[in-house]
Structures are given as structure tokens and as C-alpha cells.
Symmetry: C2
Subunit: 333 residues, 2 copies
């Protein structure tokens, strides 16, 4: 008998197909092919092919020259424009505003073919520092109410350039799904006077069935009511609502655990395409006692069809208890 | 400059990329290939290869024999099971219930390769009658609070069988996205004492920019803040909250306008994969003054990536004013 499970934060129900459950080998997968050398605007020597850099960590060299280790540039085809006053207006019975925002690309490495699984830990740590620095810079701009950090890996996950990179979008509104999460967590806090994510961390750490791994500072788990098979959350154990408040030891540990988790996913699912997203509190909010940031990894294993688009109701063919076991058994430290 | 637009029903913002907007030819598309004859459980003579039929319209023949025009059977691999008492329970800090529900397949035609665009109008009308009859039957079961009718056309839209069919899932809970729509429409009604969908119909019919076509009974339009390029809504002009209350002339006219709209999409976008979904009020509710059913068609033209999954915030590269124009120009009556 399948199960209906409720996401404790947003109240969204999902169907977990417990009896015809899919194991890693059952997914029709496309392994992401290794990147091959080709003319690429993110390689050394092509710095003038991108818009001028916003931030770079360098060993040597001048601005927009080779020698960088991590480089952040505006997206050449931004979905939102950085210039102008925010202007809300009506249009007949509808509401709109001009598309003010920021859209940046975090080039994680000059090495055209390096994935996060291959990179030295120190390199990933610098990528995370770039995330933090950019969010802290953008939040000073009061037009921006939310900053989303995300990564599309592999064509099936929406990546259009081979050279691996992350992206950032700063928005003048708080996205609905973020608001739902923050509001849902607030409801729990009002009732219990505890952070729901802190409760989840304690519960999952003690129970172990959905636990992938944990360190002093982080826990990796499969959530109770995941939308997708092998959806994986990395949560800091110490309560913190804003990712960009993370200190140096936290980012160092996150680099290690992120690489380790991606390696487990790579091994269990044969290098699948994936998206990851940093869920963090709205940037203009003061630290929130009821919200807790996390990094969410979603391997692309299934197709979303009419049922999901119509209802926001997801059918997940792999119980999180099973995906957690497969990831634990992938066994990379 | 791109625009941020707000969906007037749910309050969800979307980004409409007005200046790098995509025309039909810009989408990397996979045309759905014509179905080829192969052994198929939905063909005449293979009726015993499906579970026993629930409903069939026939010219001749007995139950589970050839001679039917439309046939409804339980899904052989249902995502929910029909038997048992609904049982809500806790699991640690979480909430779950057993997976009670119905999952049925509406086999729209015995012709293995016929699409809705090819079928006689009368055949489509019978498919719609089967939709109506099945919902009316299932709503008598008080365990079910929502019934979703949907169709996945083409592999990219999640279809797994070549012989075209629609599906129905009856659920013991009201999906979150449905609840958001009904609640959003209620908020508007409380403020204005009018149905927001009736307002949209009047506004779009008068303005014309997002109008695709209209008849006495239906309007076809591109919504103001669509999540996807060429997202298309078919709405009844007379206020009705529940699809299954539609009368005979309404279903007859819907058959015509559905085929005509799908033909326009086929022509403008070269036979794309699509999902359609019937958005209707929760089945146990009495007729609602504030909600209005509709059929929503979503061609699969873009990939959903990390940004969308993380925020529920969609980037749409084609303004609905342009997609409406392309569909109007496709010109099939």
C-alpha cells in the first residue's frame, strides 16, 4: 500500500510508492558526459568574452585577466536587469512591476572539465565564500528582498554551458514557495516555541532511517516527504536562518560534506544530472528563530507530468528510507 | 526590460522575458512521433490485458470485449489503492495516511494512432462524457476529496504508453495548489463579490491581446502571468465551479474548442508534447460562487531548472500577448 506523507513545513502532501518502489538501477538515466575542451567564455584567456567581473579570488593577474581561482560575473543574458527604480503598477485588473534584479554566474574553477566531485576541498570552500560575499553585497541594496543561489548540473537539469558554474538571482519580491516555508515554520514556532528544522535534525539523527551522514556541524538526510527520489538536504546543526551568516569553520565543513554527498549521489546513481538550491531566509529579515537554512539537492531521475503541474502534488517512487540506505551504502567519506 | 507579473488568483510572481522573447521556432522541440502499430493493451482484442473495465461506451460487444468507442479501466500500476479505510496517523513528529485513492485510465479511442487533433468531434465529446461520468461516480465515495483529470501527450510530457489516453486520480486530500487557487479566488470574492475568473473572462474578451478564440460558451486565452510559454486556458463563459456539472451542449462545444485549440498548438509549435489538466473545485464542495473550472494546456517547450524548483518562481521566455498572436495566426477554426 502506498503512503501519503505530509511535508511538516509547508503542509504539502506527497505520495510515496512504497510497494513498487524504485531502486537506483530502475531509473532511466542519462549520465552527464565529461566536459570536453572547446572554446568557452569561462576558460582562462576568454575573460573579455563575459561582462566585467564583479568578484574574483586570484593568485595573480589583473581584473578580467587569467590567474583567478573563482570568478563571479553578471549573466550575459540576465533574466532581470540591475538598473532602475522599482516600479509597481496596475495593468487593467492585474499587477506587475519592472524586472529589477541581479543575475550572476559563479564560475567555480578555471578548469573546464572539473566537477564539484573532483575539486579540492579548498576550491569548493572558496566557491562557498563567493556565495556568501555576493549575497552580503547584494542585500545592502534595499530593492532586493530575496537572493537565490542555485546550480544546474547536466543538460537534463537545465544547464546550457558545459563549464560548470553556479548562479545567483536577486529578486525584488519574496518567492511564494519561500514565503510558504517561512510561514509554515513560523506556525510551528508559534505552537511549540522551537525551530521545526532543529526538531527534524534531532529526530532524524536519533532515528537514523533517513540519515545519510553527519558531522559536528552538518547533517545530511533524506526528508520525510520528498517530492523527488533521492532528494537530499544538507542542514547546519547550529540554528542559523541566513546562509550568508555562516562563519569560516562552517563553510570549511560544508565544502567537505557537500563534496562527499555529491560523490555518494554520483556513485549510487551513476553521475546523474541534478539541481541544488540554497534555501535561506529573505535577505532583509533580521535573524529568524523559526527558520533554518539548508542546501537541497535534487537529482533529475523522473519526469514531472500533468498530475504534478496540475496539483503541486508529487508522486515519489522511492521512499526516503531506501534512498538514504543507498546513499549510506555508497560509502564515500 | 523584463517584467514581473503577478498571477491574480494565487499571488505567484513570474518573470516574463519581454526583450529576449522566444518565438515558436526558437524552442528546441521534439515533435511527438506518430504512433506505430504494436501489441498494445489498449487495442481491440487485448481487453483482457487491462484490469476489468469500469465504464465503456459501445456499439456492440460485451464487457471487456471489442466494440467499445471509449473505455475506462483501472490503471494497472495505480499510484493509490482503492480498497480500505482511510487511516490518518502520526509517525514521530510527522503525519501520514495510507494511500487510498483511485487511478484510472480513459482510453479515448480504439484507434492506436489517433490523436485528439485527428478524432471526430463526436469522439472527443464522448471522452468528455466519460470524464464527467467517472467524476460523478467517484464523488459519491466520501473518502475522496479531489479528482484530477489530466492527459500527458508525448514522452517529454511523461507519457509512457503510445496509445493516447487520459488519466484520472482521486485523492483523499485536497492538493495544496488547488487549495491555494480556491482560497485566492475566495479572497477576491470576499473583496469584490465577483468571481475572479468571470472578471478575467470579461477583461480578456474586451482587451483581446491575450485572446486566442471564443465561442458562445467558451473562451480560449493565454493567462496574464503564465508559468510556461504557450500555457493556454479554456474557460466556460457561464460561471460553474465543477467541471462534472457541465451539461450536454457545454461538452459538445468543449469538444470542438479543445480540438481546435490543440490543432492551433500543433500547427504553431510543430506537434509538441503537452500536458493538459482540468482544474475544478473539490468534489465534496457544493457549487462555489468564487471558483470557476478550466482546462489548462501546457506544451513542454522549456526545461524547469534549479531556480524554479527552489522558489516556485518561473521564468517565461514568451509573453502571453505574443503566444496568443501566434495561436490566433495558426488560424484553424
Amino acid at each position: 500500500m502506498p503512503e501519503l506523507r505530509k511535508d511538516p513545513i509547508t503542509g504539502r502532501w506527497v505520495i510515496i510508492a512504497t510497494d513498487r518502489s524504485k531502486r537506483p538501477g530502475d531509473f532511466i538515466r542519462q549520465t552527464v558526459p565529461p566536459a570536453v575542451a572547446r572554446v568557452c567564455p569561462f576558460d582562462y584567456g576568454n575573460e573579455r568574452k563575459t561582462p566585467p567581473e564583479i568578484l574574483a579570488y586570484r593568485d595573480s593577474g589583473a581584473r578580467d585577466e587569467p590567474g583567478w581561482r573563482v570568478r563571479v560575473v553578471p549573466n550575459k543574458f540576465p533574466v532581470l536587469g540591475i538598473e532602475g527604480e522599482l516600479n509597481r503598477q496596475g495593468e487593467g485588473m492585474y499587477d506587475k512591476m519592472n524586472g529589477i534584479g541581479a543575475h550572476e554566474v559563479i564560475i567555480e574553477t578555471p578548469d573546464h572539465a572539473a566537477t564539484l566531485c573532483d575539486m579540492p576541498e579548498r576550491q569548493i570552500e572558496e566557491v562557498l565564500w563567493a556565495f556568501k560575499e555576493r549575497v552580503n553585497d547584494l542585500k545592502r541594496d534595499r530593492r532586493f528582498r530575496y537572493v537565490l543561489l542555485f546550480r544546474n548540473y547536466g543538460e537534463a537539469a537545465g544547464a546550457s554551458l558545459e563549464h560548470y558554474h553556479s548562479q545567483l538571482i536577486a529578486l525584488p519580491v519574496i518567492p511564494k514557495r519561500v514565503k510558504e516555508e517561512v510561514d509554515g515554520a513560523k506556525l510551528f514556532y508559534d505552537l511549540k516555541e522551537r525551530c521545526i528544522f532543529c526538531d527534524i535534525i534531532r529526530e532524524e539523527s536519533a532515528a537514523g532511517a533517513r540519515l545519510v551522514t553527519e558531522t559536528d556541524r552538518f547533517i545530511v538526510l533524506e526528508p520525510y516527504a520528498p517530492r523527488f527520489p533521492f532528494e537530499t538536504w544538507i542542514l547546519p546543526k547550529r540554528h542559523e536562518s541566513h546562509f550568508e551568516e555562516s562563519d569560516a569553520p562552517t563553510l570549511q565543513n560544508l565544502a567537505w560534506i557537500l563534496r562527499s554527498t555529491l560523490r555518494k549521489i554520483d556513485r549510487a546513481l551513476e553521475r546523474p544530472a541534478y539541481n541544488f538550491v540554497v534555501h535561506s531566509a529573505p535577505v532583509q529579515d533580521a535573524p529568524l528563530a523559526h527558520y533554518h537554512w539548508r542546501l537541497e539537492i535534487m537529482p533529475k531521475l523522473t519526469k514531472v507530468a500533468g498530475f504534478e503541474w496540475g496539483t503541486g502534488f508529487y508522486i515519489n517512487p522511492t521512499p526516503p528510507e531506501e534512498s538514504a540506505r543507498f546513499l549510506r551504502e555508497a560509502g564515500i567519506g
